[in-house]
C-alpha cells in the first residue's frame, strides 16, 4: 500500500515539476507548482510528518502560491517569448544538470542500501505536540530569529512595493 501511494504521488510530483519548467505561461507553471506541493504533502504524511504536511499545504500551497498568482495577475505576465541568450547556461547547463542528478543518485544508492526501508506509521514523532515541544525548547532561538525575519520581510516588501502606489 505504501508503495502504491508513494509511486503514484511521486510520479505526479515529477510530472507537475516538469510541467512547471516546461510551460510557457507563468500561470500554468503556478498551478503545476501547487500540484507539486500537494503531492509532497502526501509524501510527508507517508513519512510520518503530520505537522509538516499540514504546514506545507497551509503555508506553501495556501499562502505563497497565492502570492505568486497575485503577482502574476498584477504584472499581467504573458507567455514567454524569445530564445535563450546566455552562452554559459546553454553550453554548460545541460551537462551539469545531468551530471548533478547522476552524482546525487549514485551517492544515494551507495549510502542507503536497499534494506533500509520505510513503513507507514513507524515514526510517530512528527505530530504537532512533538514539533511544538522541540520548537519552544531546543529551537527557541531560531524560532525567535525567524519571527524577526518575517517582520523584516513584511517591512521590506511594503517598502519596496510602496513606491508604485505613490
Amino acid at each position: 500500500m505504501d508503495v502504491i501511494l508513494f509511486l503514484a504521488f511521486a510520479l505526479f510530483a515529477l510530472a507537475c515539476a516538469i510541467n512547471v519548467v516546461v510551460q510557457k505561461h507563468p500561470i500554468a507553471s503556478a498551478i503545476s507548482l501547487i500540484g507539486v506541493m500537494g503531492s509532497l504533502a502526501v509524501i510527508y504524511l507517508l513519512l510520518g510528518g503530520e505537522f509538516i504536511a499540514a504546514a506545507q499545504v497551509i503555508v506553501y500551497a495556501g499562502a505563497i502560491m497565492v502570492l505568486f498568482v497575485f503577482v502574476i495577475m498584477l504584472l499581467n505576465a504573458g507567455a514567454e517569448t524569445g530564445s535563450a541568450r546566455s552562452l554559459t547556461a546553454q553550453s554548460l547547463g545541460a551537462p551539469l544538470l545531468v551530471g548533478l542528478l547522476c552524482i546525487l543518485s549514485y551517492f544515494v544508492q551507495r549510502l542507503f542500501p536497499h534494506e533500509f526501508a520505510t513503513h507507514f506509521g513507524e515514526f510517530t514523532g512528527g505530530g504537532p505536540k512533538e514539533v511544538g515541544e522541540a520548537l519552544f525548547t531546543t529551537y527557541l532561538l531560531p524560532f525567535e530569529a525567524t519571527s524577526i525575519l518575517i517582520l523584516i520581510a513584511i517591512v521590506g516588501a511594503i517598502v519596496l512595493a510602496r513606491k508604485e502606489i505613490d
Binding site: L92, L96, L111
Partner: protein, 611 residues
Amino acid sequence: MQLWLIPILPLAGFLINGIFGRRFSKGMVNAIAIGSVVFSFAWVLKTLLALDLGHTYTERYFTWIQSGALQINAEFAVDRLTAIMLLVVTGVGSLIHIYSIGYMAHEGGYYRFFAYLNLFMFFMLTLVLAANYLVLFVGWEGVGLCSYLLIGFYFDKKFATDAGNKAFIVNRIGDFGFSLAVFLIVRNFGTLDFHGVFAQASGASEATLTTIGLLLMVGACGKSAQIPLYVWLPDAMAGPTPVSALIHAATMVTAGVYMTSRSWPILTHAPAAMETIAVIGVATAFFAATIGLAQNDIKKVFAYSTVSQLGYMFLGVGCGAFSAGIYHLMTHAFFKALLFLGSGSVIHALSGEQDLRHMGGLRKKTPWTFATMMCAAVAIAGVPPFAGFFSKDAILIAAYAHAPWMYWLGTLTAGMTAFYVFRAMFLAFFGEYRGHEHPHESPPVMLIPLAILALLSLAGGFLFRVPAFLSSFFPAQEVPENPALMGVSIFAGLFGIFLAWVMYVAKPGMADSFADSVKGLYTLVYNKYFVDEIYGAAVVTPVVEGSRAALWKGVDVAIIDGAANGIGSTASGVGGVLRLLQSGSIRSYATWVLLGSVVVILGIEFAGGVR
C-alpha cells in the same frame, strides 16, 4: 713617529676647504691649503731626520681586513725609497701649491681647486707610505680620481670633461691589470704586506712571478702613461697648468715607476717581465719623442716629453738599474715641473695663449721666466753637470750593459729630447713676438717657486746622490763605467740643441720647408700617428655600439623592462579574462554556481568520501 700626520694634514686641508671654502676669503683658503702641505713637508723632514733609514720603520694603525688566513692592516712604512718619494712629493708639491696662488688668482672655483689639490696630496702620500699592496692601491685609485677631478676642473668645457673621462677610463684598464696582479699575489703568497711577499718571492715559480710582473706592468702602463695606455696624458693638458705640473709630471705618473721599483724582488726573479718593461720603456721614450717634435701647443710638447721621460725611467727599471730609474724620477720631477710651471707663467703672461706659433721674443718681456726655464731645458737635455745628465746617463749605461740597441735608441731619443725642448724654448723666447697680446712678467708668488726649482734642476744632480743613497736598498748592479758612452750621449744632447738653434733661430724658415718636404711623415707625426683615432675605431666605438645595442636595448629594455612591464600586462590580461565572468546575466551566474557545487561534491568524494 706619527707617520699618519703626513697624509692627514692635506686631507684636513681638503675637508676644511671643501666644506667651508666657499665662505672663506682667498687668503684663508691659501693659508689652509698651502699650510697643510708645507706642514706635511716639515713633518716629513722631521721624521726622516729622526729615523735610522737602515731598516724599514713600520707603523700599524688597525686591522683592515681579516678574512680566514688573510690579514691586511692599515700600515705605513718608511725606508730609503719612501724617503726619496716623500721628499719629492711634499717638496715639489709645496712649491706648486705656492705657485698656484698666483696662477689661479683670476680663475673661478678657487677653493675647489685647492681642495682637490690637497686631496690629491693625501692620496699620493698614502700611496707612497703604504706598507702593503692594498693600501697602495687605495692611494693608486685615489690619485686617479683626483686626476679626473682636476683635469676636468673647467667642467663647463666639453674637451676638459672628455679628457677627464679619458684619463680615468684608460687608467681603469691599467688598474684592472693591477688588481689581477694583487689577486695572484694573495693566492700565491697569502699576504699583501711588502715584506711578507718579498720574503717569499724567491720561492715562487718563475711563471707565476712573470705573470704577476707583467700584470703589475699593465697597471704601471696605465698610471705612468706607457704604450699602449699613454693616450690620456696629452689630453690631460686640458686641466690647469699647476695640475699638469704636479700630477702629470712630478708625482702621479711616477707612481707606476715607484710601484715597479718597490716590487723589485718579484721582478728580478722574472727576467721576461723585466725585459718587457725595458722594451716598452725604450719604445715609448722614442715614440713619444717623435710626436713631441711636431707639436705646436707648448703644453703638448712637454706632455709628450713626460711620456718619453717616463719611458726612460721604465728602461732603467727594466734593465735592473732601479736606483737609476728613481734617480731620474727625482730629477725629472724638478725640471719637468719647472718646465710646466714656466709654460704656465708664459701662458699667464700671454693671457691664455698656448700656441708656440703665436709666441716669440719673450725673453725680453719675461726675463725671469726665461732664465728659469732655460735652467730646466739644459737639465733635460742632459748637459753636464746639471741634474738630468747624471740620471739619464746612469740609465743609458745600464741599458748598454743590458742590450746595446736599447742604448742607441735611448741616445737617439736623448738627442730628440734636447731638440724639441729647445725648439719650444727658441720659438717662445727668441725672435720677434708673433702674437697680439701684451706680455707681462708673472708676480713673485709664481716666480719664487720657479727659482727654487731652477736651482734644484741645476744642482740637484750632484746634491742628492740618489744611487749611493739607494745602494743598500736595491740589489747591487755591476755596471762598468764607460766614458765613451757618456761622451756619445752628451754629444747627442748638444747636437740636438745646435740643430734646434739652426732651424729656429739662425734660419727661421728652415723648419717649415723641411716639414713640407716630408709632408706625409710630418702629418703622421703631427697627428700623433692617429693612435687616438685607431683606438676610437677599434675599441671605443665597438664597445659603445655593442653596449648600446646589446646591453641597453637587448638586456635593459627588452629583458628587464620587459619583465617588469610583462608582469603588469600579464596581471592586467588575466584580469581582463576574469572580468568576462561578470556577464551581468543571472543565468550564467547560476550555471557557475551549479558548476561550483558539482565540483565541491566531487571534491568531497575524492578527498575523503561522503561518510
